[in-house]
């Protein structure tokens, strides 16, 4: 029983990070109807900003203040980066075929990865250690052991989700976002500046990815330019599982994927973990393409 609870705890703290990344995929899909392949690389850059905040800007380590400052910095830098990517690569393709945009997105993702991997102009391919941003301690509750880092991940995720919910449902910009994802043409007819809202969506999604990057690196303190690929794919699966375009769905999907992965890892099937995430994805797309919380749309001629 203790082992079971400990695994639930492990799964939830992993799933929370997937949820943060999944939200970015789902928001962009909501307004633009395409998968932003570069999202997982923004996540990776978020972790590197957190690293630079300590190693270059000399923010204090092992303190909540320094940690939160690094987190905020990563979110800000990633938000700007998300907008830049959108303006340079995606905006010129606004009315082109999905395939063209998709290939561009793959191109952007490969570009970020390979520039980062290059030892001359990037970080180099070797994994490097991520500093201890938050004071790390273990707390024992009965037979369970929780590290403070896991608590930080959960707390930050909950706060960010609450803020996101507030933005999307209680502000004018959020209302415009929802209108845009419902019907882009109608939205522009009622006076919504679609380009501005799309940029805002990218900023919001990328900021969450940046936060996810720092939190992930805090928990798994070894960062490298390809670290985003797998969590990014898992988060994408989470977004589809929850119903792409659906915010609570993305959060739920993230948690579920985190739990499934953790429970699979504790068994003899552990080495099939990545394959299982994809198998879930394929199963959902076949049997419930709209995801757990999504609504199915019929393509109109």
């Amino acid at each position: 029983m203790t082992e079971f609870l400990q695994q639930v705890l492990n799964g939830v703290s992993l799933g929370a990070i997937y949820a943060l990344i999944a939200l970015g995929y789902t928001m962009v899909y909501g307004v633009l109807r395409f998968i932003n392949f570069a999202h997982s690389d923004v996540f990776m850059l978020g972790a590197f900003v957190g690293w630079a905040a300590v190693e270059r800007l000399h923010l204090p380590t092992r303190s909540f203040g320094g940690g939160l400052a690094a987190l905020a910095l990563a979110m800000a830098v990633c938000a700007i980066l998300g907008v830049v990517i959108e303006k340079l690569a995606y905006k010129p393709l606004r009315n082109r075929s999905t395939l063209t945009v998709l290939i561009t997105a793959i191109g952007v993702s490969l570009l970020i990865q390979n520039v980062s991997q290059n030892p001359t102009i990037g970080f180099g391919p070797n994994p490097r250690a991520f500093p201890e941003l938050f004071p790390a301690r273990q707390i024992h509750l009965g037979g369970l052991t929780v590290s403070t880092n896991q608590i930080v991940v959960l707390a930050v995720t909950v706060v960010l989700l609450a803020v996101l919910y507030w933005i999307v449902h209680r502000t004018k910009t959020g209302t415009a976002m929802r209108a845009l994802s419902f019907n882009a043409t109608a939205a522009s007819l009622v006076g919504i500046n679609n380009d501005r809202i799309i940029s805002f969506t990218f900023a919001l999604g990328s900021a969450l990815a940046g936060a996810g990057g720092v939190l992930y690196a805090t928990n798994y303190p070894s960062i490298d330019p390809l670290m985003g690929t797998l969590p990014g794919l898992k988060a994408f699966v989470a977004a589809v599982l929850g119903g792409i375009g659906n915010l609570p769905g993305a959060a739920l999907g993230g948690l579920l994927i985190g739990l499934v992965e953790t429970f699979v890892s504790g068994t003899r099937l552990s080495t099939f973990r990545d394959a299982i995430a994809f198998a879930i994805l394929i199963a959902i797309l076949l049997f419930r393409p709209a995801g757990l919380l999504g609504k199915l749309k019929v393509e109109k001629v």
């Binding site: 203790t2 070894s222 992965e261």
Partner: protein
């Protein structure tokens, strides 16, 4: 030996192919002046890609040795030259790289990758060409089983597994150990199976085995399962980027017992990632930087001066690899591949920085392992372990 001789024949074949690959042809002329006197060695390794660290440290070690051999007047009165080829850590690339080294660069011996999988890919080509290949750090037994042209200067996985089993029993007095295995690395699989066998033979029990795959960063689930199985220690043969995270997460989950690893753990990054959670980690290495032998101290100093950083174990092994090949050429009195091969096979008591090297009949270097422990955030020399005949360990 059936390497094509340079001359009109290969020039004709070159022209035939030039039709298909004009770009390549333009890139570098076949008849380029090669400095007639130089003896050419080849090196293929992961100079870029995800294991670039391994390849670059190998290259640095070999380069230092090359420069020192040449500064001392070369071999047989001729300078040595080393052609480097990058396999980008990608499967399928080592074969092409070695074909280039063999046929285009006409090398007389090859320094192999530090990774066993990529040596298994390139080894058969060297064997077919009758050309010696020496790997600095490929520890999988299958590598030298390819044939009589394939050598290594490091110990093997069965040897290493036996070393750790004996160390766990005799020094740490452990009886219940859990295994955490990287199922995507033959290295980790091989080590753990030998450990399991030898640890049982010495009276201990492997209580539980958990697996992960190469790029994984989350080991909490596996460690939680191990801890629940009531183990005293974890043996996690793996590379340092996994090792650091395993150490940290084990301590995060409140596991306080010894953590045993393998030679892949030897890197400063292990300490950086694990921080103070690295205390109580033990693993075998090929050479100890704390060794006060003037040979080792001199190597450390020269390496630091040349590259501005301390060497890793694989640098020391690559240094020895090139020195050993140079020594073999000297002893053979000839730079012909079959003569070098024969001289390498008969190596006895070659004094390298990683220890005294003798080639056993399986073309594996025989030397004891050094166990390192982490104390106060640094690697500390603990003891030398030799579990006896390495051949016995694998049977």
């Amino acid at each position: 030996m059936n390497r094509p001789a340079s001359g009109p024949r290969s020039r004709r074949s070159f022209l035939t192919l030039a039709a298909c690959s004009a770009v390549l042809a333009g890139c570098r002329g076949k008849e380029g002046d090669t400095g007639a006197q130089a003896i050419r060695l080849g090196l293929f390794g992961a100079l870029s890609g995800s294991e670039a660290g391994l390849g670059q440290y190998t290259d640095m070690g070999a380069t230092l040795a090359l420069e020192e051999v040449n500064a001392a007047g070369g071999v047989l009165g001729r300078p040595l030259e080393m052609v480097r080829e990058d396999n980008r850590t990608t499967a399928g690339e080592s074969a092409t790289a070695v074909k280039k080294l063999l046929s285009r660069d006409q090398v007389v011996a090859v320094i192999g990758d530090g990774n066993s999988g990529r040596c298994l890919e390139a080894g058969p080509l060297c064997q077919a060409a009758g050309l010696p290949m020496v790997s600095p750090a490929a520890t999988n037994p299958k590598v030298t089983e390819i044939g009589d042209c394939i050598f290594r200067v490091c110990f093997t996985d069965p040897f290493q597994g036996a070393v750790m089993a004996r160390f766990a029993r005799e020094t740490l007095h452990l009886s219940r150990v859990g295994l955490l295995v990287d199922a995507s690395a033959p290295y980790s699989l091989g080590l753990s199976s030998v450990f399991r066998e030898r640890f049982a033979a010495e009276g201990g029990t492997v209580v539980s085995e958990q697996r992960f795959s190469g790029g994984d960063k989350d080991f909490r689930a596996q460690l939680t399962a191990l801890k629940s199985a009531g183990i005293e220690a974890v043996f996690a043969p793996s590379y340092y980027h996994s090792g650091g995270l395993i150490l940290r997460q084990a301590r995060d989950l409140g596991f306080e017992g010894p953590m045993l690893g393998s030679d892949g753990w030897e890197a400063p990054e292990l300490l950086e990632v694990a921080g103070r959670t690295a205390e109580g980690a033990y693993f075998p290495v090929h050479f100890s930087p704390e060794n006060t032998d003037p040979l080792v101290a001199g190597f450390l100093g020269r390496f630091r001066r040349r590259f501005g950083k301390p060497p890793t174990g694989v640098s020391a092994l690559a240094f020895d690899t090139l020195q050993l090949i140079a020594d073999a050429i000297r002893r053979a009195g000839s730079a012909e591949p079959p003569a070098i091969r024969a001289a390498l096979a008969s190596t006895r008591d070659f004094q390298g920085v990683t220890g005294r090297i003798s080639m056993d009949p399986g073309r594996n270097a025989r030397k004891p392992a050094v166990i390192i422990g982490v104390r106060d955030g640094a690697f500390r020399f603990l003891r030398v372990v030799d579990p006896g005949d390495p051949g016995r360990a694998s049977s």
